[in-house]
């Protein structure tokens, strides 16, 4: 029963990892940009949430009402102001610039909030649980997983059923032709980054409720996000959710064997997938 419990808890944890990864996957899918600062942007969202909670006394989940639009705005400005200029045939400039951004965000957060671990207080939600058979499920992990499913379903629907989703796919498919079809790719990229950071805001708040965080934890979240994207297969959002779940389950099973093995087990699962199926488990069906 313990093992079933580990798998269920790992699956729920995978929801959080999928939220870390969704923004990363979306940005890479639309504009082939690998965002090294993604983890730090998650942490930035958590700090923004903390600030809103402290200033207004709102419940952290309600703080999303402020944090999501703020992060989306930051995303649009960041893309139009900086990242668009790094995009081109060479993959290196965006890597370097987002790496620099990562350093700037970390140090900015250190200046403003110090290195002390912080946590958002979500009250009863943090410890609430319900019984399902002989398993005891935390309300927060279940809620996180449900949010991840809803977010990914929403993104998927948007990509295939709305004008902006079609625009994302057209730009991703062929930028030059998209321009000739009247699409302003700079604007579209800005919107994609805004959307990605909106999702990142949700991930950041849920992270900040679940565990304590400090300015240096972004790198680890970035790795989990990357691993989930690559396990699932590039460009496939449902695959990203599956990747998050596999990573989460591997971690909880590792922790079950020996608490020190949690992170390592996740990385080993990732390496196995990379060795056996480097294209990921569910790569996008190409046309």
């Amino acid at each position: 029963m313990d093992w079933v419990n580990a798998i269920v808890q790992g699956t729920l944890l995978g929801g959080l990892y999928a939220l870390f990864a969704a923004g990363l996957s979306l940005i890479f899918g639309v504009m082939r940009l690998v965002n090294i600062a993604h983890g730090d942007l998650i942490v930035l969202a958590a700090y923004l949430g903390l600030t809103v909670v402290m200033a207004t006394g709102l419940h952290p989940l309600l703080a999303l009402v402020f944090v999501v639009p703020t992060m989306a705005t930051i995303g649009y400005i960041l893309q139009r102001g900086i990242l668009n200029f790094t995009l081109g045939d060479d993959l290196l400039p965006p890597l370097l610039v987002t790496f620099g951004l990562s350093v700037i965000i970390q140090n900015g957060l250190l200046e403003m909030y110090s290195a002390d671990p912080q946590k958002m207080n979500a009250g009863a939600l943090e410890t609430a649980s319900f019984a399902m058979g002989s398993l005891s499920l935390g309300v927060l992990p279940v809620l996180t997983f449900a949010i991840a499913v809803v977010v990914i379903a929403g993104l998927q629907w948007m990509f295939y059923h709305t004008a902006i989703g079609r625009a994302f796919r057209a730009v991703s498919d062929n930028q030059d032709i998209a321009q000739l079809m009247g699409l302003n790719k700079r604007h579209i990229f800005g919107l994609a980054m805004a959307l990605a950071l909106g999702v990142t805001a949700i991930a950041g708040i849920l992270l900040g409720i679940r565990t304590s965080f400090d300015p240096s934890v972004g790198g680890g979240r970035l790795i989990f996000g990357f691993e989930a994207v690559i396990i699932g297969g590039l460009g496939n959002l449902w695959g990203t959710l599956a990747g998050g779940v596999i990573l989460g389950v591997a971690q909880t099973i590792g922790a079950k064997i020996d608490p020190g093995w949690q992170i390592l087990a996740g990385h080993i699962a990732f390496l196995i997938v990379l060795a056996v199926r480097p294209q990921g488990l569910f790569p996008r069906v190409s046309g």
Partner: protein
């Protein structure tokens, strides 16, 4: 008739190679203009300059009376220019219908039902309706060419630019394509058409220009142009006996 497009002294060179040399040309509203010339003469370059894919070194482009020389390709498209490519370039991971919808929503600025209706009408006209839900990457050459035309038409263009759209088609396919282009012309859309399939071209256009080494070397009534000695020598490779 007011002119829809005016090219003034367009010049473009890549290093020592001049691909457009002081090109000037006027296109009247509703006119159909044919462009011929040998391979590498600069015909497609002329399209790239007009649509904004390339920026000229000198000269200006006026579209519907406005100087568009410094406008982006996207804005020129929204202003009413649309083109097809010699080598079809669909969004291959999207369906035929979605390809059309990109043009209808982004270039023509339509939304919802209006965009869908336009796309369906055009797909009917270009005989692609039965492929509407096929991924564009899996189409045959003829259907890819039709998709090029479909996408251009869904942009609701005032000026339609066709780049060797009849090339590589069978005679029957060519006839049905010419019929479609004539319909489009009859609806008042101005057309510039680059084509090597001269008989198809001449059956549609009102005027013909000949380009060689980036320069315009003849301009006039199609049949007269095709008969002129200079054109026969340069374009058809027939030597003139003195």
């Amino acid at each position: 008739m007011p002119s829809i497009l005016q090219l003034n002294g367009l010049t473009k060179s890549f290093g020592a190679v001049t691909v457009a040399d002081d090109l000037s040309c006027d296109l009247e509203q509703g006119e159909a203009l044919g462009i011929i010339g040998p391979n590498g003469a600069g015909k497609t370059t002329m399209f790239n300059l007009i649509t904004g894919t390339l920026a000229p070194n000198a000269g200006s482009i006026r579209f519907q009376g406005q100087d568009v020389t410094s406008l982006s390709a996207a804005r020129r498209c929204r202003a009413g220019m649309a083109r097809s490519f010699q080598v079809p370039q669909p969004f291959s991971g999207m369906t035929v219908f979605e390809n059309a919808m990109i043009a209808a929503t982004q270039a023509a600025g339509l939304s919802g039902r209006a965009a869908e209706t336009l796309c369906l009408d055009v797909l009917e006209q270009t005989e692609l309706m039965n492929k509407a839900n096929t991924l564009a990457g899996g189409l045959t050459l003829l259907n890819r060419k039709r998709l090029e035309l479909t996408r251009a038409l869904c942009a609701k263009p005032k000026l339609l630019m066709l780049d060797e759209i009849a090339g590589g088609l069978t005679e029957n396919e060519c006839v049905s394509l010419v019929r479609t282009i004539k319909e489009i012309h009859a609806s008042g859309v101005s057309i510039i058409w680059i084509e090597h399939v001269v008989h198809a071209l001449i059956s549609v256009v009102d005027r013909l220009i000949v380009i060689d080494f980036g320069r315009k070397i003849a301009d006039g009534e199609p049949k007269a142009i095709m008969k002129s000695a200079e054109v026969q020598e340069i374009y058809l490779g027939i030597a003139i006996d003195d």
